[in-house]
Every structure is written in C-alpha cells, then in structure tokens.
Symmetry: C2
C-alpha cells in the first residue's frame, strides 16, 4: 500500500483530502477529523491511512500552501516591468488564493508548524521587488519594505472580508484593494 509509485488512485484521494481539509478548516478552524472526512466525502479511517496524526495533515497542508503561494509568486513575474505594476500583478495572483490564505491567517494552530519561521523565497522576492521600486522611484521609500508587505496582506484580507460583510463582488473588492494599494505606495511630493 505504501508503494513508491503513486498509483494514481492514491494521489487522487490524497489531493481530495488535502483540498477538503483546506476548505473545511478555513470555514471552521475547529473542524474535527470527522468533519474533514465528511467534507472530503471519505471515511475517517481513510484520512488516518494517509495522515496518521492530525499534525501530519496540518504540515502537509502547510507545505501545500507554501507551494501554491510560490506558484502564484512565480506567475506574477516580479522581475519584469515597473515595480508598481509587478506589485499589482502579485496582488491579483494572491487574491485568488482566498481559501488558502484565509486559512493561514485564521489558523494560529499552525504556530507550532516549523516552516513559517524561515523566510520563503516568495517573501524575499517580494521584499526585493519593493526595494527595486524604491530605487526606481515607483514606490514610496518613506515606508519600510516590511511594512508595505504587511499592508499588502492586510488589504487582501480586507478585500475578502469586504466580500463577506458587504454584498460586494469579488472583482469590485479586488479593485478597491488595488486602488488603495496604489495610493499607499504613491510617492509624496
């Protein structure tokens, strides 16, 4: 059963469990294994077959999550074009990761998960991008780069929150975020 070659069936259910766990846990941070199993349309036993302990599932989610962020970052091509435009691109990419990122935000249960502490390649790329923008003169140098990344994440969070509370469409919320972010990085004369 734990053969080296992923049979296809195994890989499929593994993904199903991972996806279901992600969505279940972003809706309810206290979801039990049984809840996740139900969400995945799978027996609770099966989950334990793939992830012996809850922590195993959580760290699998963790890496899966980092991978998706990584992919989104690459797709934004941070090195191309003016820095402010690249920043908007990466925001748009990240905006699509709502379930993934809401989970990351609202689940401090993963505090013990080793893998957050060390800087991601995405983190570094983002900081480099902002640095580049400051030198280019397209991003306000009056605010620390680390602060601007915080603000970017916050604005994304606000956008998702805005679609929940208000009856705003996702598109409208994203537009608001980008508009606000543009004002934030604008250079004061």
């Amino acid at each position: 059963m734990d053969s080296v070659a992923p049979n296809g069936a195994r890989a499929r259910t593994r993904r199903a469990i991972l996806d279901a766990a992600l969505s279940a846990l972003s809706k309810n941070a206290a979801a039990s294994m049984a809840d996740i199993a139900a969400a995945a349309g799978v027996g609770r036993t099966t989950i334990h077959r793939y992830f012996p302990e809850r922590s195993d599932l959580l760290s699998a989610i963790g890496t899966h999550l980092l991978e998706r962020i990584e992919v989104a970052t690459v797709r934004a091509r941070l090195d191309e074009g003016p820095a402010d435009e690249a920043l908007e691109r990466v925001c748009q990419e990240y905006f699509e990761l709502e379930d993934v990122l809401l989970f990351a935000f609202e689940n401090p249960q993963m505090t013990d998960w080793t893998g957050w502490d060390d800087e991601t390649e995405s983190d570094r790329a983002l900081l480099r991008l902002i640095e580049r923008g400051r030198e280019e003169g397209t991003i306000d140098a009056g605010q620390p780069a680390a602060w601007l990344t915080e603000v970017m994440w916050s604005l994304l969070y606000s956008a998702w929150q805005h679609t929940r509370g208000q009856h705003a469409s996702k598109h409208a919320a994203l537009e608001l975020s980008l508009r606000t972010l543009r004002k934030v990085i604008k250079i004061e004369r």
Copy 2:
C-alpha cells in the same frame, strides 16, 4: 452568594477573571478553562462560579469588549474638528486596545456570539465620521465608507503584527499606520 449588591469582592474577582481570560485567550486561542484559571491566579471552580459555562464567559468577554471599544470611541470625540484629524484620534484610541482587538480578530470561536451582527453605536459613529469627511473634502470620496473602515482595522492589525515580527516599537508602528492611513484617505487630484 448571588446577592443583588455587588460586594466589591465579587466585582473584583470577576474583573480579574475577565482580564485574565482576555489576555490568555489572545495569546492562545485554544486556552482551556484550567489555563484561564491559572492565568487569573484563581481556582478553576471559581471561574465556574461566575461563569457556569464556557459560553457564558465568552459572551461576558464579548460585551466587555464592546464596552471598551465604545469608551475608546467616545474619547476620540468624533464630532469635533476636521474629520481626518478625528479619524487619526480614533485610530490612536483603538491602537491601545491591542489585547482586546487581537482577541476579537483571531477568535472566530465567537462567531456564534450574538452581538457582532447588529451594528454598534461605534460602527455607526465611524461611518458618520467618514461621511462627514467626504462632504468636508478631507476624506477621499472615491472609496466606499465601509471599505475605509475595513482598511482602518486592517492597518491597526498590521501595526500590531509589525511590532511582533519586526523589532519595531509600538510607537513607531502606530506612526506607520497613521502615515499610511493619511495617504489612503488623501483626495486624489
């Protein structure tokens, strides 16, 4: 024991439990009753004497929380002076409520708590303030008022996060927030 007149002793330990619960739960959202009791320097039994069930404690925290927000809002005197300055004042007041508000943000366990859904007087006052600023010409009318309040909360959250991650002082973080907020509400020419 449940006499009508608050004896002083009862009121005192009640506050102690409430405060300890607040700080314990903001540090660790999954804190057990035993944890909270320990944090309050009080027996677990005593907590159940004041708050028979966990949900009772949570809703007590909820109202206590709303009260503190209410007080902070009043102290900001939203009706006085230019709207943009009033907005900065209320930010400064809210910034002091770090434990209270971080708890509110990071504890979706209070989602079931009835009392968030209906608009607070503070919410309304804040929206009125922004509306006033738009008419005055001190706050950008290009962004919906509801969105600006979301952004304000997010910036506060960013500030607290910034003091955690970076080695920034609270004062510096607040300054960053205010500076960024000023740019956000600035009217585009």
